[in-house]
């Protein structure tokens, strides 16, 4: 039997039914599904805008004020080495980022040739400043995208060196979410546009995730998960998985940034519960392993080598590390230990020895040496300040006020070197 006629009314009825069915199906989909559908059909970002619950980022407070690790004088000597005295021309964003992370926005120096925190921030958020330093022959550091601002990063000296390093450093420096960001053609972006673009952009399996993990944690906690541009559901648990994945020595600065970010996530979890029980346990277990490795991989003079993950073998079968690699490993380990609970510390004498070595080494550097390896020494300054539960800017401004002309007195430096 076949149907011989199809009334026009039936056709219109079916049209309404079809439209209604598709509309209802779309309406019934969750917002995430709708986003993914739009992404798949139109290519528009599937990422949801993450609501950032604060205007200023969280700070991970240091836990110890231990003058045995570093005295005021020693700290002043070390900080004196890393004041941001940079050339105005072809100013490396990487240096500024490191300096700003260490000194924060509030830093002010009596020496007018030294960049203040605000100067450094302006250089990073204002394309005009960057243009003045690099000219128009290089690509802008701040890259405009349809929905946000990305930071150009890579090996070029005119770029930020690591993915999301710009964001993490400004975050650690205390930048406001509403901080204006001036790109080549627009002046109405804010730091939030950089953060949101970074969240959309982030890929879990890219080579470097340390700074993204840190920045996201400081901004969006207690939110635990979010979606990136391709719709992948990411979380701090996955960040932990990623940070502990693979050989420990792989990763920026001999793998130590991964440890620092992991420790930061655990600290954030203490307060904001951003990790699952399993995620926290995995992070903790990993940090315990790192603790055990650095307990046996330290050299008698106090430095940690770049192959610290080899444990005791690092000492018995030493690699031929250049000095700066030793500074990297030692300075960075002291940095994460300063925010770590004592259960994650190696024996105290190891910490003291490491501090001795790194202070001595840092103070012994010439301005040229420091200029070439500023970034690594900036971590030393930050680490030692954290061990005194002080902020470098606060400490320095007070020190300068209390010790006018102190920098011109070489005796102090000599005293440190002779200890």
């Amino acid at each position: 039997m076949s149907i011989r006629t199809i009334p026009t009314a039936a056709i219109w009825g079916i049209q309404l039914f079809v439209i209604g069915a598709f509309a209802a199906s779309y309406a019934l989909a969750t917002p995430a599904e709708q986003k993914i559908l739009l992404y798949e059909v139109t290519g528009r970002s599937a990422a949801e805008t993450v609501t950032v619950p604060r205007d200023k980022p969280l700070m991970i407070e240091p836990l110890y004020d231990d003058p045995e690790v570093v005295s005021d004088e020693e700290l002043a000597q070390v900080l004196a080495q890393i004041v941001p005295r940079f050339p105005k021309k072809q100013l490396k964003p990487n240096y500024v980022e490191h300096a700003l992370r260490t000194w924060w926005l509030k830093a002010k120096f009596s020496d007018p040739t030294v960049m203040s925190g605000e100067d450094m921030k302006d250089y990073l958020v204002d394309h005009g400043r960057y243009l003045a330093s690099w000219g128009d022959e290089v690509e802008p550091l701040l890259q405009e995208r349809s929905a946000g601002v990305a930071i150009r990063w890579g090996k070029e000296t005119c770029a930020s060196v690591h993915h999301d390093h710009w964001l993490a450093c400004l975050t650690e420096a205390g930048m406001s979410l509403e901080e204006p960001v001036f790109t080549p053609s627009r002046r109405n972006w804010t730091a939030n546009d950089v953060l949101q673009e970074s969240i959309r952009d982030f890929r879990l399996d890219e080579v470097e995730t340390e700074w993204s993990a840190l920045a996201f944690g400081l901004w969006i906690a207690p939110q635990k998960s979010w979606r990136n541009r391709s719709g992948r559901e990411l979380s701090f648990d996955l960040m932990v998985d990623r940070l502990i994945r693979g050989d420990k020595k792989l990763g920026v600065c001999a793998g130590t940034h991964r440890v620092y970010s992991l420790m930061a996530l655990v600290r954030l979890d203490d307060e904001y519960r951003i990790l699952s029980t399993e995620g926290r346990q995995a992070a903790w277990n990993h940090l315990e392993k790192v603790r055990d490795l650095i307990a046996v991989s330290q050299f008698p003079d106090g430095h940690w080598p770049s192959n610290w993950p080899d444990g005791a073998e690092a000492v018995t079968k030493p690699v031929d590390d250049e000095l700066f690699k030793k500074v990297i490993a030692t300075g960075h380990h002291l940095e994460w230990l300063a925010i770590a609970p004592t259960e994650l510390h190696p024996p105290r004498d190891r910490i003291l020895k490491a501090a001795r070595w790194v202070i001595k080494t840092t103070v012994a550097q010439t301005p040229t040496d420091i200029g070439q390896r500023y970034t690594f020494f900036s971590h030393v300054g930050n680490a030692l300040s954290l061990w005194r539960k002080k902020h470098p800017a606060d400490f320095w401004m007070k020190w300068e006020a209390e010790h006018p002309g102190w920098l011109d007195t070489p005796a102090d430096a000599t005293a440190v070197l002779n200890q």
Binding site: I6, I11, V18, A21, L37, Y39, E40, L204, E233
Partner: protein, 530 residues
């Protein structure tokens, strides 16, 4: 039944018992098979051919790739009673959104293998292929009225689709759905039941496999083709509004599209289907790449295409626009991605024999119609007997009737790493495993519980970076060894056939030692696990 009792019992004539040594006169036997159960010799021939196809595909070993991944997903769904929203089995793909367009096939597959073992899956696949062949055979028979041409259509279809048919995957269920649709929409006499059948088919199809979209497009192409024909014939658009066929086809198209929304993902399934082919990872896989016309597969495709074009030039049959539209659409699709040939083949085969038959009939006009084939109970009996024989001797029949399970070595393809995975089962690797994507699925299915495979053949679910890193290692590109360190790979499973060079380099690397090695596969483990 009561009516039967009231009827006069039929008068039975009892032939005289024949004297010893004399033969019985069989012509005196009465064929008491009801008319509707009587069948023709032609049908018996078809049953035999289809039985051979079924039997043959029952013997085909199960392929070593995505089947096992599908079964793993099926197991996960069946045991958790939930559909995954993100990839659940590959640790490196955590959080990747997953629209499981084949969930029903996967669950059916899992229940089948649980109940009937390998033989069940082999039998299920063979039944799908046989059903698809039978539908095409029937439609070709009706259109050409020639058993020879109908058989030719089936052979062409099986020949063109040989490679994809060998791989048991949910696509086979989609193929059956497509053949049902092809069968119904190319009928000259649509039935009222088609109004129900076509939407229901699409609902089922949308849950079995993502290829339901081909069905929706097919219906759209038929409606569009009909519109073109009408305009060409009448020269006016007004004809479109009153044509019953066009109305029917257009409404079928719409109802099918709506029916496909009845799935766990709703409209999200459309998004998945539309975006699937754009996944960059698929570009690395041969079957998703542009068809290589220099390969045997590609040459056969081009030859068939040329033959079709020639036939369309000489055919005396009226050429409907839907034929041209679907052929062009599916041909372009096949050239774009070799996987499309699955859908192109039955259409090409049907249209090829349709126009070949018409052309030959013009030149040799004898036997214009199919010679009548008398229907008798004898042929019904023979047909049923043949069905029984083919079933009983097939691996599925053996399993159902005698609980005889084929040995894994026979039931699985020779490239399946049975022994190596057994070794890994007995010596579970710690942490991340690196494996070739071809073996990831089997490792997931048969390997130790919770084994951390690097990738499986569901490449579209693997994060792009992970996939690129996988390719970097497989191709031994710069930094390949670092990738193994970065991912904390502690065990590596490779095949000797394709990865000899990588195996050699790993043998030379002091970080690795051989834990297992046979002629087919090798397992390396890290001397100092990460």
């Amino acid at each position: 039944m009561s009516g039967t009792l009231l009827e006069e019992p039929p008068v039975e004539t009892h032939p005289e018992p024949s004297p010893a040594g004399q033969q019985m006169d069989l012509s005196l036997l009465e064929d008491r098979v009801p008319d509707q159960w009587k069948s023709s010799r032609r049908l018996t021939a078809c049953v035999v051919v289809l039985g051979v196809i079924y039997f043959y595909f029952c013997l085909k070993p199960l392929w070593h790739t995505d089947l096992w991944g599908h079964l793993s997903y099926g197991k996960m769904i069946a045991t958790s009673h939930t559909l995954p929203t993100t990839e659940p089995l590959m640790p490196l793909a955590k959080g990747v959104p997953m629209v499981d367009s084949a969930w029903l096939s996967q669950v059916l597959g899992y229940f089948t293998i649980t109940a009937l073992g390998y033989a069940g899956v082999q039998g299920f696949a063979a039944l799908c292929i046989t059903a698809a062949s039978a539908l095409l055979l029937h439609r070709a028979l009706v259109r050409t009225r020639s058993l020879f041409f109908a058989m030719t259509a089936m052979v062409v279809f099986l020949w063109l689709d040989w490679a994809p048919l060998v791989v048991v995957r949910p696509q086979l269920t989609g193929l059956v759905c497509f053949l049902v649709l092809l069968h119904r929409t190319t009928s000259r006499h649509p039935r009222a039941s088609d109004w129900l059948l076509i939407p229901l088919l699409h609902t089922l199809w949308a849950n079995l496999h993502g290829s339901f979209f081909i069905g929706v497009c097919w219906l759209g192409a038929m409606a569009f083709g009909r519109a073109i024909d009408l305009i060409r014939r009448t020269g006016t658009l007004r004809s479109l509004t009153h044509d019953l066929t066009l109305r029917r086809q257009f409404l079928w198209f719409e109802l099918a599209a709506v029916a496909a929304l009845v799935n766990p993902y709703g409209i999200g399934l459309y998004g998945e289907v539309l975006s699937f082919g754009q996944n960059s990872n698929l570009a690395s896989l041969t079957e998703w790449q542009v068809l290589d016309v220099r390969s045997l597969h590609g040459t056969v495709f081009i030859a068939t295409l040329v033959l079709l074009v020639w036939l369309y030039r000489i055919t005396p049959r009226r050429v409907a626009s839907w034929e041209v539209l679907t052929l062009i659409g599916l041909s372009v699709g096949s050239l774009w991605s070799a996987r499309f040939m699955v859908w192109w083949a039955p259409v090409a085969a049907l249209l090829l024999v349709t126009h070949a038959r018409a052309s030959i009939q013009r030149w040799f006009p004898w036997q214009a119609d199919l010679a009548p084939s008398p229907r008798t109970g004898k042929w019904s009996l023979v047909s049923v007997g043949m069905v029984w024989i083919f079933f009983a001797y097939s691996s599925l029949g053996m399993r159902v009737m005698h609980h005889r399970e084929p040995a894994a070595e026979r039931a699985l393809s020779s490239f399946t790493p049975i022994a190596a995975v057994k070794y890994l089962h007995e010596h579970p690797p710690q942490g991340q495993v690196f494996n070739t994507y071809e073996w990831g699925d089997y490792l997931q299915w048969a390997g130790p519980e919770g084994v951390q495979v690097f990738v499986n053949s569901h490449a579209h679910l693997v994060p792009r970076d992970v996939w690129l890193h996988y390719m970097q290692v497989i191709e031994e590109a710069d930094g390949w060894a670092d990738i193994l360190d970065r991912y904390g790979v502690n065990a590596i499973l490779l095949d000797h056939l394709n990865r000899n060079s990588l195996i050699k380099r790993l043998k030379d690397d002091v970080k690795w030692k051989i834990a297992y090695d046979d002629q087919q596969a090798i397992v390396f483990v890290r001397r100092k696990p990460i």
